[in-house]
Symmetry: C2
């Protein structure tokens, strides 16, 4: 009910969602129900859901938050409620992969309309819990509130890393690598916007992304990584973040970018496919740098172990900005990437 | 723009807000601006804002999330933008006080309309940062996204506690205590809803609440606390949480409840004042149990040190539920408290 503020307070579900520590009422019953299936988490979880805070331990605790808004980040006619929860949680967990942290758990806050406070909220939270558990983490807590507006999820991820790999470590002479094949999620959204159903493999990359957590941990245990980031904005945008944070230039080989085969097949031109790979976003693959020659000897074992490609796409050079290397010529790539407020004055 | 999903991806500001690690664009410039004034945090902050995750350390890391929605939890005609940020952050920080954790920092995710993406978002975040810093914590990260709906803030608080005090520790024979004087925030909201401006001291308790973090740490260092909780739902609701979580009954002395003097003065009857104190909510005071006689010897020093009252309001008994003790008679108190979805079928 817009414009009306309850006089009873705002902290009703402000504590982590709770099995034992809540009073009575339909909201609390619902939360109890979806938490009943949640596992308690690994040894790093000292206090799980059920009190004012969850408590976790670890040498270094990595934290990141990612907010998704209906009509901006997802549409309910495109995704099942469980997929909405899974996708928002996987997107947030990808930030743990981006520093090579091991997931401990997630907190999820959910704002829903009165009409969505029942089955819809529960099914979204089932997707959140499934994504957290698939990544080896637990549902640690969160909040549930009504809203007169669109469904909003905010997922805070909690991971453990004694030695996080940051965006700042790219050095001239490093090679630039990416995992996986790019462009399918952006291609799926383009199809959906045009009123077409994307083919299952492409839709799946959009609706059920899997963050590269095991892949990041595997790599950091075996190679002296420089910089690491996940591809949420598209390679163009995220490589730009690495270049800026590390104070270097990145030279990308136009012909080396690993484009998802369904995008190559489905796009009208190779240029259109490349655009999806560079700026479609939501790939949740990894982009990393390592000293020259460090990763090539590991490539076959990585691809066998994870069933995911590992591709050298360029190099780190002195300077700043992004460049295309194309048949020996070098040209500025432009900012690329994605901004929420592009229409902002 | 409702119903339209951008094809460019959803991770644009999904990483923690960043000074060094972001690309160009008006959104990023704005985030840089408000973070420019943020302190880096204490020794527990190993990696602050600026990468995919913040990284913190500590013996036990306490985590909680609290979501606030415009029109449900606050109205912009009642609060300045900085107060909206301060209030949401203090409400979340109160959950750290509720386990006696020391604040390390906060992550704040913000969903705003295009019209609010400028000055409004920045001023809200200034309030968030001020509340975090006033509590001894840092702004660790967050997310910023546009939304076609109301302004939504989700604040995740991060604290350190080697020995968190939970809701589960109330035992028969314990005394029940509360800090401060109750009812002023609910009384302020009642006045605002009636179109009246509350008097400054009452409005301040609503608009700029101060979580009892130092008070909780002071008490836990000096007394063998049983259960601890913060008063967000009103004493009736939160005492109910303690009773349920600990598996005990709580007997509250009707005459002992510390009602805020302005509420006693302003309310039509003492019963109305008591109702504000019991179920008005948003007091962000502490409610705790301790063995009989443990706290009375500390009371004067506590009140002198913190300028906050400490009042014995009842006792813990065998059984379950809440009871009024009133001139020697005992009567069930009822559930009380607050639920977001009270209109839910």
């Amino acid at each position: 009910m817009p414009g009306r503020v309850s006089r009873e307070g705002d902290g009703g579900a402000g504590a982590p969602v709770s099995v034992s520590g809540l009073g009575s009422g339909p909201e609390f019953d619902r939360i109890r129900r979806f938490l009943a299936g949640a596992r308690g988490g690994g040894p790093a979880v000292r206090v799980g859901p059920g009190d004012d805070c969850a408590v976790v331990t670890g040498a270094g605790i990595a934290l990141s938050a990612d907010m998704s808004v209906e009509g901006v980040h997802f549409r309910r006619d495109w995704l099942a409620p469980e997929e909405i929860g899974w996708r928002a949680t996987s997107a947030a967990l990808s930030d743990l992969a981006a520093v090579a942290a091991r997931p401990v758990g997630v907190l999820c806050s959910l704002a829903v309309s009165d009409a969505d406070a029942g089955e819809m909220a529960e099914r979204v939270m089932v997707g959140v819990r499934e994504a957290a558990e698939a990544a080896g983490g637990a549902l640690l807590g969160g909040d549930l509130t009504r809203s007169p507006g669109p469904l909003v999820l905010d997922v805070t991820v909690v991971g453990e890393s004694a030695a996080p790999v940051l965006r700042t470590g790219a050095r001239p002479g490093h090679e630039l690598w990416v995992t996986g094949e790019l462009g399918a999620p952006g291609f799926a959204v383009a199809a959906l916007l045009a009123g077409r159903q994307p083919e299952p493999a492409v839709r799946d990359r959009f609706a059920r992304p899997v963050p590269r957590l095991a892949e990041a941990l595997w790599l950091v245990e075996r190679a002296p990584l420089g910089a690491l980031i996940d591809l949420s904005d598209g390679l163009g945008g995220d490589a730009g973040h690495v270049a800026t944070a590390s104070g270097v230039a990145l030279e990308l080989e136009r012909a080396a970018i690993p484009i998802h085969p369904a995008v190559l097949t489905g796009a009208a031109t190779r240029e259109e496919a490349l655009a999806h790979a560079m700026s479609g976003g939501e790939d949740y693959e990894l982009c990393l740098t390592a000293p020259g020659g460090a990763l090539e000897p590991l490539r076959a074992a990585f691809e066998r172990e994870h069933g995911v490609r590992l591709t050298r796409v360029g190099r780190v050079a002195e300077g700043s900005g992004l460049f295309w290397m194309d048949g020996g010529t070098r040209a500025p790539l432009g900012a690329g990437g994605y901004q929420h407020f592009r229409g902002d004055p």
